[in-house]
């Protein structure tokens, strides 16, 4: 009987994977995998993804698309949802800015889509879409307390409560993280990424009504901050974020969703010459409706609309005690209409067509925009084979922070970034083996970049990206599995750089031996960008080329109500690095007079131990 129960748990997880075939190119981390990997934090998942890596920018903020730029955030095209409600920042776009390194103790499973999935899952243009699904009260009834400790004084405490009444279920998760990160010595200054985070997540659900509440407070040291020579005297940030979302499913096939979000942030940044004080607060309201019409047995049409209203208020933007002039640009409204048609040509072949138009209205001299999103796909599926071809054409909004923060000057309109791509995926499954091959090609126009005088401009050249990804999963039995993934990304025509490549490979072994859950993972990474960038510009060679991040963990299930865990992360201390320029710029030409490279890994060598108790 116990083996049957293990199979039931295992297959309940796997069923989540199989139902997503027509949604797009997706990678799923099941609950079993997350628990066995002992991923305490979202970055523990993001670092294991093919193609994408977890990175932190000059401000120490999670920013997977950070490449050399000193923008406060570069990853607004990675969108993040929790239970079908997007976490959004009015200024920065993606909620990854707030929750990119969140404690994921409340999460059941995670889906990561590359490019735009079906509009059923998200209507935001995205290069990557991360969907976190919270634990379901029906499956997690009771109270659970978790304590985790790590070296350098890391500590994380969480309590979870779930209950089910006849018609209503509730779930609540409260967590506190006090993260003491590795410090870096930069000349005579110490750079810190220490963070304190308080997070509450709660849901109240019945069959027809879903309510979600989130509240977050982050206090963090901002690593280098805005200091070009990496000698910050002060680099601190405090952010509060609140989210209330309501979904209604009273009418069959009709979804109605209203989400209100607010945030407040304070930045304090200084070096020997300058002191910046920036404080702002944002309000955001999103209302969307979606109707699925089963026209015939073979044809399903989804139509929907969404209105997003943003109000971003800069309370203080001060340099050396002097206020910057108030910006008139403080409101943005995005109205979206979309449709998607799924047509089953045969029981195996499915054709999908989607079109979305968004009108962006800005309240000041910032020009209005119209954004288009097109999605065409052909999916073949039988018992063993799946073949998916998708064509996407997306235009990305220029998020307000590019105009409003850090004194960026609005001199001209910034065109929306345009991305066209085609992907093809094969999937083969037989018995205990499963294999995916993904081939893709992207063309990127109007990518925004910051030029030396601080102004944001579109890159005039068209950038090209080829990407390939192969993965293989072998389920030896119910209790043991092996995963191997390899990805290759080639970027061409990228600004004034040579072509650069990224290679990433992950091997993961998950085993259950009696009461022990054992995980082993090694991630290999190589990025040729810093080699070419630094060599071309400064004739500086880049020492580290190959990175290995080895992590291992053991969880001991002492009883039904008590678990102990031990995990070592990046044990070889050779995980990939983020790289930062530091030096002195000529005050007139703004060009570097001298430069030095600071390397800092976002994944530090860490030992964690933990205990979970179920009441």
């Amino acid at each position: 009987m116990e083996e049957l129960l293990d199979t039931f748990v295992h297959n309940s997880d796997l069923s989540i994977k199989t139902r997503l075939q027509n949604a797009g190119n997706v990678i799923v981390f099941t609950r079993e995998e997350i628990e066995m990997m002992q991923a305490r934090n979202l970055k523990g998942i993001l670092k294991s993804l093919p193609m994408l890596s977890y990175r932190e920018n000059r401000l120490g903020i999670p920013d997977p698309f950070y490449i050399l730029q000193d923008l406060p955030f570069n990853s607004n095209s990675i969108r993040i949802y929790i239970d079908n409600q997007e976490v959004t920042s009015a200024s920065y776009g993606s909620g990854l800015f707030f929750i990119g390194d969140i404690d994921i103790g409340f999460v059941d499973h995670i889906e990561v889509y590359s490019l735009n999935p079906s509009f059923e899952y998200s209507t935001e243009p995205a290069k990557y879409l991360i969907k976190l699904y919270s634990k379901v009260a029906q499956r997690d009834k009771g109270i659970k307390a978790t304590l985790n400790y790590g070296n350098r004084g890391f500590n994380q405490e969480a309590i979870q409560y779930a209950s089910v009444a006849e018609k209503i279920s509730s779930f609540a998760y409260l967590s506190r993280v006090d993260d003491h990160r590795k410090t870096y010595q930069s000349f005579d200054h110490t750079l810190s990424k220490d963070k304190k985070q308080y997070y509450f997540f709660g849901t109240l659900n019945n069959k027809e009504h879903h309510l979600q509440i989130q509240s977050l407070e982050n206090e963090r040291d901002l690593f280098i901050g805005l200091s070009t020579d990496a000698r910050p005297n002060l680099a601190q940030n405090k952010v509060r974020y609140h989210h209330v979302g309501y979904e209604n499913y009273t009418v069959e096939n009709l979804k109605l969703r209203v989400v209100a979000e607010s945030s407040a942030s304070k930045f304090l940044l200084s070096n020997d010459k300058e002191l910046f004080r920036v404080s702002s607060h944002d309000e955001l309201l999103t209302v969307d409706t979606q109707y699925r019409w089963h026209k015939t047995e073979k044809n399903e049409l989804t139509i929907g609309s969404k209105i997003r209203y943003k109000h971003f208020i800069t309370d203080q933007l001060q340099r050396n005690g002097f206020d910057f002039p108030d910006l008139e640009f403080d409101r943005q409204t995005i109205s979206t209409l979309y449709f998607e048609d799924h047509y089953a040509l045969t029981p195996q072949w499915l054709l999908t067509l989607g079109k979305q138009i968004s009108k962006v209205h800005n309240n000041s001299e910032v020009k209005d925009d119209t954004l288009h999103l097109d999605r065409v796909g052909v999916v073949y599926s039988d018992h063993q084979w799946v073949s998916k071809t998708f064509f996407h054409n997306s235009e990305f909004l220029i998020e307000p922070y590019l105009y409003t923060t850090s004194g960026f000057v609005i001199k001209h309109h910034i065109e929306p970034e345009k991305v066209s791509n085609i992907t093809h995926e094969f999937q083969y499954k037989k018995d205990a083996y499963e294999c995916h091959v993904v081939l893709g090609y992207s063309k990127i126009k109007n990518m925004p970049t910051k030029i030396s005088n601080g102004e944001i401009k579109n890159i005039t050249d068209t950038l090209f990206q080829h990407f390939y990804y192969v993965d293989f999963q072998y389920e030896m039995d119910l209790y043991n599995s092996l995963y191997f993934g390899f990805s290759y990304v080639k970027n061409s025509n990228f600004d004034d750089l040579n072509d650069f490549n990224q290679y990433k490979s992950t091997i993961r072994l998950l085993d259950k031996l009696g009461r022990f859950d054992i995980s082993n993972e090694i991630i290999y990474f190589r990025d040729t960008l810093p080699e070419s960038y630094y060599f071309n510009r400064f004739e500086t060679t880049f020492p580290n080329k190959n990175y290995f991040d080895y992590s291992t963990g053991v969880r001991y299930r002492y009883s039904d109500s008590l678990n102990f865990s031990l995990k070592g992360e990046n044990l070889l201390d050779r995980a990939y690095n983020d790289y930062f320029e530091r030096g002195r710029r000529n005050p007139l030409t703004k060009k570097w007079q001298y430069i030095d490279i600071l390397q800092a890994s976002p994944i530090e060598k860490r030992i964690y131990c933990g205990v979970e108790y179920f009441f």
Binding site: L5, F8, N11, S12, K141, G142, E166, A344, L350, D560
Partner: protein
């Protein structure tokens, strides 16, 4: 649509209920009544269980909520809902998720009232008080 699949493992659930019900009733097939469409599929999939159309024909009733308990039924009930297990006196056992794991419980006192002797493999799931 042709490619959508369900998130419920009907096949394994069927094997689990087969073991539970044959371990309670000690005969084959066991006549099961349930008004729940998902669990009707679960019962139909098993060779050792027989789905019956009326509660009075059943050896056991499987209920997922209070509404699914037939009126004036005094026979043996098994549930997948903790609230039904806690409040309905005719419910001898339950199978539901708790702390992320599926759990099986039988309440000793109610088994004794119904004079049910469980199969050896199910005895480890007997509890003396409601969870």
């Amino acid at each position: 649509m042709s490619l959508s699949l369900f998130g419920f493992d009907t096949s394994t659930a069927s094997k689990i209920f087969e073991k539970i019900f044959t371990g309670i009733i000690h005969k084959e097939p066991v006549n099961v009544y349930t008004s729940n469409p998902t669990y009707q599929e679960v019962v139909k999939l098993s060779n050792s269980l027989e789905l019956v159309a009326k509660p009075f024909l059943a050896d056991i009733v499987l209920a997922d909520s209070h509404n699914e308990i037939p009126k004036n039924y005094n026979g043996v009930i098994f549930t997948t809902n903790v609230s039904v297990f806690q409040t309905c006196q005719n419910t001898i056992g339950a199978f539901y998720w708790e702390h992320g794991r599926p759990k099986i419980y039988f309440l000793k006192q109610r088994l004794e009232i119904k004079k049910i002797l469980l199969h050896e493999t199910l005895k480890r799931y007997i509890v003396i008080k409601l969870p």
